[in-house]
């Protein structure tokens, strides 16, 4: 009995010794340390990418490209921005970037006076280089270093050519544009019109609507009422094509319409798979991110001086409904 008791006590001792050592080791080894400043790598340049449409698939790819380029080039890149259509907040981000005296601003261009004033006056005053991305501002009014993104003039032409091809050179086309006169929209429209000029059998009409999907829907509704013989739509601004599809779908068979978009977002791709949207443009957002950051770094280091003022165009290609299926 006594021996058993002693044995049990010994066992208890051994077990608790094991646990004690185990926890002691754990505590000793984990050695919680405050994430210190000793392993901070001094970043040579701080670059900020500012977008108006954060979290859209397009800009997510831009962000991915920019951040990976930043990591590769060992410069600090942060992706700032606003969600849709909050221009005030967007301007604030630009101002913060300027007040923070970052080394470079890569920004989605905005065709407002305020924007050009800020980029022109403040950024230039602090000597901060600005590169526009995805959407340019008019070259002459801005002091931006360069533009990185798609050649929207070319893009417009490509879509128009595809349309002409699809419609065998004749038909009635409605070109939906936004009342916000963004540079890319202007260029795309220019491209479309240039193409249509070579095809006199194409009848076209330019319809301007608001930016929101409701405004586009109502504009489409009105248009279909006024001109029921329309054969094709081109949604120049982002997301306008999907709004058009939704409206047209309610009225008649979509087979009769040729609808064209400039986006490659999932919704558009979905409609393309169904055959509702005939073609769209594939841009290269990731490439834009990478290219813009590396150009900025090159400029900062003085490797490429000056930058091509016209811009650096990234790859574009026409994506037809047949390709998606």
């Amino acid at each position: 009995m006594r021996k058993l008791l002693v044995f049990l006590l010994l066992m208890g001792c051994v077990i608790s010794l094991c646990f004690t050592v185990y926890y002691f080791d754990k505590i000793f080894r984990s050695g919680v340390a405050i994430p210190g400043s000793e392993d901070v790598v001094e970043i040579p340049y701080r670059l900020v990418v500012i977008s108006q449409e954060m979290d859209s698939p397009f800009w997510n790819q831009v962000e991915r490209g920019a951040l990976s380029a930043g990591k590769e080039l060992n410069v600090g890149v942060e992706f700032w921005g606003t969600y849709r259509s909050n221009m005030e907040d967007f301007m604030k981000h630009v101002e913060i970037a300027i007040a923070s005296k970052v080394d470079g601003i890569i920004v989605q261009g905005l065709n407002t006076e305020e924007f050009s004033a800020i980029t022109k006056l403040k950024a230039a005053k602090y000597g901060i280089p600005v590169i526009t991305i995805a959407n340019d501002v008019s070259m002459n009014e801005s002091l931006r270093k360069t533009y990185v993104g798609s050649d929207h003039l070319l893009v417009g032409g490509m879509i128009a050519d595809q349309l002409v091809l699809d419609m065998q050179g004749s038909g009635k086309v409605v070109v939906m544009v936004s009342d916000r006169e963004e540079e890319y929209q202007k260029l795309r429209l220019q491209g479309i019109l240039d193409s249509f000029e070579n095809n006199p059998n194409i009848n076209y009409k330019i319809v301007t609507s608001g930016d929101s999907s409701e405004q586009i829907t109502s504009a489409t509704k009105q248009l279909l009422n006024e001109e029921p013989d329309t054969d094709a739509f081109i949604g120049v601004t982002s997301d306008s094509a999907t709004a058009i599809v939704q409206e047209v779908e309610k009225r008649s068979s979509l087979e009769n319409f040729h609808i064209y978009s400039f986006d490659d977002n999932p919704e558009t791709l979905n409609y393309m798979r169904k055959g509702y949207i005939k073609a769209t443009i594939m841009q290269s957002p990731e490439e834009m991110g990478i290219e813009s950051v590396s150009l900025m770094v090159k400029w900062l280091k003085g490797e490429v001086l000056p930058l091509n003022h016209v811009g650096y165009y990234t790859d574009v290609k026409v994506l037809r409904a047949e390709d998606v299926r």
Binding site: C13, Y23, S30, V32, I34, G76, I96, A99, S100, K101
Partner: protein, 480 residues
């Protein structure tokens, strides 16, 4: 000799030491966590302080612009200085997570200070438009700073997320460590005190057991206590006492044995004296009468009878005088010869006696009446029962320190049991067997042993139908 005290003190010291170690460890880690918490809190406070001071600076600027005065200028300058002071302090807050934002933050503070300066400058130059635009910018930047403070703090939370988790885990580990350590120490203490108590009580138990055995009279068990404290000392003392008592008892037993031996010899002496008294009944009368009878027989011409009676008288006188005295072998031989004469008269030719003696040995001392009973024995067993008679031979030889006296007969022999009986002195007085002197063989052996103080004084060999040989071994020098 304060081992038990030492043991107790050692135990207490160990307990206190372990407790102190645990306390130190737990306190150390707690202190460490507290410091870390503190440090983090300090960071937050400092960031918040930046936000507050920059706002204050803008407020002071506004106050100054509304109503410029020396005093307000001083206040503004103070707050500007305090902002730039804290900007320097921000340097220590850098880590891998926030270096980007922190640099922005510091630059923003720089921009704020510049804007404030420009505002003041423009104000002094009375340039209202410029002044206002710079003031608006300063206000904006101060707002940005506040916002960035929030961003920084939220980044901080991100960065320290793992750290917080670690700290929480650490503290729970500490708790568990404390629990297990407590358990370990408790168990160890129980075990230790068990063995400690055992170490004290086991020798006491042994001692108790030994005392009980002693009290029951067992003095031959060793008392062994292996510890080295007071108990062991007690046990050693106790053991010495046991050994002493044991020795005393052995001594007493030896003395008792001696006493018994003495008693026995006294009894024997008394017995023989009694016998001699019995045979002393009017001995002088008997002796004188025998002498008268001898003379009368001589006078009547019966010379042979006369000699016989003289021999009997001689024998009687020797017997009376010499029984309790040592005599020489020579005396013994002559009295033995007289006895043979008497027996020859009785058995005539049936008794043949041959004596071969080394007379140089006649001076050896021996108890009186030693040879006669042996011869008588031989006569009784070898001559008397046999019609054709028997031969008795006596040899006295010198063997260096001894004298051998051998008496041989050619009688029927003795059986071994009888020999054994004789040798172990068990044979009772053999008066009944017709000994003339009343002294048997056993008596002779006992007296010889008593006199010489040794056991091997006699050797008896016997063969049935051939004869018996009794050899006495008499040392020449008697030990006193």
């Amino acid at each position: 000799m304060s081992h038990i005290q030492q043991k107790i003190i050692t135990l207490s010291v160990i307990v206190v030491f372990i407790m102190a170690v645990i306390w130190t460890i737990l306190t150390y880690y707690n202190q460490k966590s507290l410091e870390q918490y503190n440090e983090i809190l300090q960071r937050y406070m400092r960031m918040n302080e930046v936000s507050n001071r920059s706002q204050e600076a803008v407020t002071n600027l506004n106050n100054y612009l509304l109503a410029p005065s020396e005093e307000r200028m001083t206040i503004l300058n103070d707050s500007r200085r305090s902002v730039s002071e804290i900007e320097v302090e921000l340097d220590g807050l850098q880590d891998q997570g926030n270096s980007f934002t922190l640099t922005n933050y510091r630059n923003m503070i720089g921009s704020l200070l510049e804007s404030i300066e420009l505002t003041v400058m423009m104000h002094e130059q009375n340039n209202r438009t410029e002044r206002n635009s710079y003031f608006v910018e300063a206000t904006k930047i101060s707002k940005f700073i506040s916002e960035t403070t929030l961003t920084l703090i939220s980044k901080e939370l991100d960065t320290y997320d793992q750290f917080y988790k670690n700290i929480i885990e650490q503290s729970s580990n500490l708790k568990r460590l404390g629990f297990w350590m407590m358990a370990l120490i408790s168990l160890l203490m129980v075990l230790f005190s068990y063995y400690f108590a055992k170490g004290i009580t086991r020798p006491i138990k042994k001692l108790t057991f030994a005392a009980r055995e002693l009290s029951r009279g067992r003095f031959d068990l060793d008392i062994e206590v292996s510890s080295n404290d007071e108990i062991a000392f007690l046990a050693r003392t106790f053991d010495r006492m046991r050994i002493n008592i044991n020795n005393l008892i052995v001594e007493i037993q030896q003395k008792a044995q001696l006493e018994r031996d003495l008693q026995e010899s006294k009894l024997l002496l008394k017995e023989s004296q009694l016998m001699s008294l019995q045979s002393q009944i009017n001995p002088h009368f008997l002796y004188n009468t025998l002498n008268t009878l001898s003379k009368k027989a001589y006078l009547e011409g019966s010379k042979e009878t006369s000699d016989l009676i003289a021999s009997v008288a001689g024998l009687l006188r020797y017997n009376l005088k010499r029984l309790d005295r040592d005599v020489t072998l020579g005396d013994e031989v002559s009295i033995m010869l007289q006895y043979i004469d008497i027996q020859k008269a009785r058995f005539t030719d049936r008794l043949q006696f041959e004596l071969v003696a080394d007379e140089s040995c006649y001076s050896v001392q021996l108890p009186g009446m030693t040879l006669q009973p042996i011869i008588e024995n031989a006569v009784i067993y070898a001559v008397e029962p046999r019609e054709e008679g028997g031969v008795i031979r006596m040899n006295i030889t010198d063997a260096e320190s001894m004298v051998f006296v051998r008496v041989e007969d050619n009688g029927a022999g003795m059986d071994p049991e009888k020999i054994q009986q004789i040798l172990s002195e068990l044979q009772v007085s053999s008066v009944s067997e017709g000994h003339s002197t009343g002294i048997g063989l056993s008596n002779v052996i006992r007296r010889l042993r008593l006199l010489y103080g040794r056991e091997d004084v006699i050797d008896i060999t016997s063969e049935s139908g051939v004869g018996t040989s009794i050899t006495l071994m008499l040392p020449k020098n008697i030990k006193q």
